[in-house]
C-alpha cells in the first residue's frame, strides 16, 4: 500500500498543517455543541409558563414597575438579540440570580458542587476498584458461575430504581442494623469540628487529624457512594469484560501462552495493558453518569450537593438555577468526551494516523 501512496505524498499537506486543521475542526465542533446547549437551555427557559417578570417583582407590582423590569430583562428586544445577550452572559459565567437562595447561581453551584464531586469520586473509586477486576475475572472465567453472577448483578443494577435502593439501604443499614450514619454528610455534633479546606470532607477531616470526624464522614458517605457506584460497577465490568474477551482471542496471547507464560500473567499483564486506554475512557464516561445519578441519590440521602440543589430549584420553579445546573452538566459531559478523545489520541498511536 505505502508504495502506491508514496508518489502522492508530496501533494499531501505537512503534518503540522494537518494537526492544525484537525484541531480547528475539533474546536468548531465543540463550539457548535456548546452553542447548541445554550440554544436548548434558552429554549427550555422560554417554554416556562411562569412570567419571568412576575417571578421577580411579584404579582401586585405596579404596571410601571412591570414595564421597567420587562425592559431591564431585555424582553422587549427581538428574540435573536435576547439569545446573543444570553450567550454573552453565559460566557461570563453569569447564570442569573437563583430565586430560592437569592444568590448568583454560579456562586450557589460553586458552593454545593464539592459535596457532589466527593460523592461521585468515592462512587467512581468503588465502581472502578470492583468493576475492573470483576470484568477481567468474568472474561477469564467466561460462562462459569462467576460470569453469570456478574451478568445478573449488572442486569439488576440496570433494572433497579437506585433511589429506592437507597431508601432500602437506609432502612436496613441505618435504621435496623445501625452500621452507618444516616442522611446528610456528617452528624450535627461534628459539623463544627471540620475546617473546610478542599471541600472534600474526607480529605479535610483526615488533614486535620480528627479521626473520629473522619469515621463519621466515612459512615455517611459509604452507603450513597456504594449505591451510586453500583451502576458504574455494572457498566465498567461489562465493558471491561468485552474488551478483555477481544484481547484474549488475539494471537499475541496464544504466542505468550506457547512461550509458557501462565494464564494469569497473560491476562493481568499483557492483555490488561492493551485494554487500559478504552477502560480509562469508560471510567471517565461513567464518572459523568455518576453526576447524573447523584440527582436522585442526593435527594434520598439529603446530601447537600448539586443534585439536591437542582431538585429544590425544580420544585420551586426556579428556572435560572435549573438552566444553570443543566448547562453545567452538559458542559461537563462535553469536556469529558473531549478528554476521552484526547486520551485515545495520546495513548493509542493507531488512532493518530490520518484517515485517508
Amino acid at each position: 500500500m505505502s508504495q502506491v501512496i508514496s508518489p502522492l505524498a508530496q501533494n499531501t499537506p505537512s503534518a503540522g498543517w494537518r494537526l492544525l486543521r484537525r484541531l480547528s475542526k475539533g474546536v468548531i465542533s465543540i463550539g457548535c455543541t456548546l452553542l447548541g446547549l445554550a440554544a436548548l437551555t434558552f429554549f427550555i427557559g422560554r417554554l416556562l409558563p411562569i412570567d419571568p417578570v412576575v417571578a421577580i417583582i411579584g404579582d401586585n407590582a405596579s404596571q410601571e414597575a412591570y414595564d421597567k423590569m420587562f425592559k431591564q430583562l431585555g424582553l422587549d428586544q427581538p428574540l435573536w438579540q435576547q439569545f446573543v445577550a444570553y450567550v454573552w452572559q453565559l460566557l461570563h459565567l453569569d447564570f442569573g440570580i437563583a430565586l430560592t437562595t437569592s444568590h448568583p447561581v454560579a456562586q450557589d453551584i460553586a458552593r454545593v458542587f464539592p459535596a457532589t464531586l466527593e460523592l461521585a469520586t468515592v462512587a467512581a473509586i468503588i465502581g472502578v476498584g470492583l468493576g475492573v477486576p470483576a470484568g477481567v475475572l468474568s472474561a477469564m472465567y467466561r460462562n462459569t458461575w462467576f460470569d453469570h453472577l456478574m451478568r445478573f448483578v449488572g442486569l439488576l443494577s440496570y433494572s433497579t430504581p437506585h433511589f429506592w435502593l437507597g431508601l432500602m439501604g437506609l432502612l436496613l443499614f441505618y435504621a435496623t442494623l445501625g452500621w452507618i450514619g444516616g442522611p446528610g454528610r456528617i452528624d450535627f455534633i461534628y459539623e463544627f469540628d471540620l475546617q473546610p479546606v478542599t471541600g472534600f470532607w474526607l480529605i479535610d477531616s483526615a488533614l486535620s487529624g480528627k479521626w473520629e470526624v473522619f469515621r463519621n464522614v466515612l459512615g455517611h458517605i459509604i452507603l450513597p457512594a456504594s449505591i451510586l457506584g453500583l451502576s458504574a460497577l455494572a457498566y465498567i465490568s461489562r465493558m471491561v469484560r468485552s474488551f478483555m474477551l477481544e484481547q484474549l482471542s488475539q494471537e499475541y496471547i496464544i504466542t505468550a501462552r506457547v512461550k509458557g507464560l501462565s494464564w494469569a500473567r497473560c491476562v493481568w499483564v499483557h492483555a490488561l495493558r492493551n485494554i487500559a486506554v478504552p477502560t480509562l475512557t469508560v471510567v471517565a464516561l461513567s464518572w459523568a453518569w455518576l453526576l447524573e445519578g447523584a440527582v436522585l441519590t442526593e435527594t434520598v440521602f439529603a446530601w447537600p450537593g448539586f443534585g439536591r440543589y437542582l431538585t429544590n430549584a425544580l420544585l420551586a420553579g426556579d428556572m435560572n438555577a435549573v438552566v444553570g445546573c443543566t448547562l453545567l452538566i452538559g458542559a461537563i459531559f462535553v469536556a469529558l468526551n473531549l478528554l476521552c478523545d484526547l486520551l485515545y489520541r495520546l495513548f493509542d498511536p493507531r488512532t493518530r494516523q490520518e484517515e485517508p
Binding site: 433494572s159 431508601l167 432502612l171 431538585t311 425544580l314 420544585l315
Partner: protein, 311 residues
C-alpha cells in the same frame, strides 16, 4: 400428528401444521415468513430468562388491563382507622399511610407505568427512525444538521434533560411523557442512521432508485422496515430506563401527582413512614424493579433472536 399422510403437495391444508412449518421448501412468501417467525420463536423459547421476562410482562399487562375487576378496594378510599396495616387477609399487601389498599393501588399503578412507557415508545420510535434514516440516506448537510442536533441532545444525561423539560412544562403525567420522549429519542436516531448507512449502498436500494422511486418512498418503504428490528430491540431495552426515569420523576413529585397511584409517587409518600413500616416503600419499588427487569430480559432475548450485534 399421525393423521393420514397426504402425498400431494398441492393440498397444504390437509397436511399437519407442524409439517407446514418445517417444510424445507416454502411454497409461498407467507409460508416463508411464518416459518421464519416460528424459528425465531423457538430460539426465543430456548432462552429461559427472556421467556421469563415475557411472562412477567404479560402478567403485568394483564393485571393492568383487568385492574377494575381484580382490585379488592377503591384505590382512593381512605380509612384512617386501618392505616399502615401490614399484609393480612383483608389487605393482601397491607395499607398505606391513609389506609388505602396497597395491592389495589399497585394494580392501577401498573396502568400508569405502562401508559407512560407505551406512549413514550410510540413517540420516540417514529421520531428516531425518521430522523435517523433521513440523515443516513440523504447524507450531506441534512446529515450534518440532524446529527449535530442529536449530539446536542446527547450532551445531556437523559434524566437531567427530562428534569429540565419538566421544570419548563410543569409537573404532570403528560408533560413527563413529553419530557422523557424529548430526552430519549436521540440514541434511537443514531442507531437508525448507523443501520441506514449500511443499507443505503445495497443493490436493492439502487434498483428501487433506478425505477424512479422518490427518496421519501425509499426511506419509508425500503429502509425503515430494514431498520425496524434493531430499533425495536433498542426501544425495548430503553423501556427499562424510561420506566426508571418516570418513577424518578414521580418520586421527585414532578411526574404523576399525589393521589395518583403511580409507583414512584407511592414510594415518595410511603417514604416518611418507611422506618417503622418498610413495606409501604418496599412494595412499589419492587414493582418498578420487576417491570424494568422484565423489559431488560425481553430486550436481551429479542436481540439474541434477531441476531443483532451487541454494541
Amino acid at each position: 400428528m399421525t393423521d393420514s399422510v397426504n402425498k400431494s403437495p398441492t393440498l397444504p391444508a390437509s397436511r399437519s401444521l407442524r409439517a407446514w412449518l418445517r417444510d424445507p421448501a416454502p411454497q409461498s412468501p407467507l409460508q416463508a415468513q411464518v416459518q421464519l417467525m416460528w424459528i425465531q420463536w423457538r430460539r426465543f423459547c430456548a432462552n429461559h430468562s427472556a421467556l421469563f421476562g415475557l411472562l412477567v410482562l404479560l402478567v403485568i399487562i394483564a393485571a393492568a388491563l383487568l385492574a377494575p375487576w381484580i382490585v379488592s378496594h377503591d384505590i382512593y378510599a381512605q380509612n384512617l382507622a386501618l392505616r399502615l396495616q401490614p399484609a393480612n387477609a383483608e389487605h393482601w399487601l397491607g395499607t398505606d399511610e391513609l389506609g388505602r389498599d396497597i395491592y389495589s393501588r399497585l394494580l392501577y399503578g401498573a396502568r400508569i407505568t405502562l401508559y407512560i412507557a407505551g406512549l413514550t415508545a410510540l413517540i420516540i420510535t417514529p421520531l428516531g427512525l425518521l430522523v435517523g434514516t433521513t440523515a443516513g440516506y440523504l447524507g450531506g448537510w441534512v446529515d450534518t444538521v440532524l446529527m449535530r442536533l442529536v449530539d446536542i441532545f446527547l450532551a445531556f444525561p437523559s434524566l437531567i434533560l427530562a428534569l429540565a423539560f419538566v421544570a419548563a412544562l410543569g409537573p404532570g403525567i403528560e408533560n413527563a411523557i413529553i419530557a422523557i420522549s424529548l430526552s430519549s429519542w436521540p440514541p434511537i436516531a443514531r442507531l437508525a442512521r448507523a443501520e441506514t448507512l449500511a443499507i443505503r449502498k445495497m443493490d436493492y436500494i439502487a434498483a428501487v432508485r433506478l425505477q424512479g422511486a422518490s427518496s421519501w418512498h425509499i426511506i419509508v418503504r425500503h429502509i425503515v422496515p430494514m431498520c425496524l428490528p434493531s430499533v425495536v430491540v433498542r426501544v425495548t431495552l430503553n423501556m427499562a430506563a424510561i420506566i426508571l426515569t418516570a418513577a424518578g420523576l414521580g418520586f421527585l413529585g414532578l411526574g404523576a401527582q399525589a393521589p395518583s397511584p403511580e409507583w414512584g409517587a407511592m414510594l415518595a409518600s410511603g417514604r416518611e413512614f418507611m422506618l417503622n413500616n418498610g413495606w409501604v416503600a418496599a412494595i412499589p419499588g419492587l414493582a418498578i424493579l420487576f417491570t424494568s427487569l422484565a423489559f431488560n430480559l425481553l430486550g436481551d432475548g429479542l436481540r439474541d433472536v434477531m441476531d443483532i450485534r451487541h454494541d
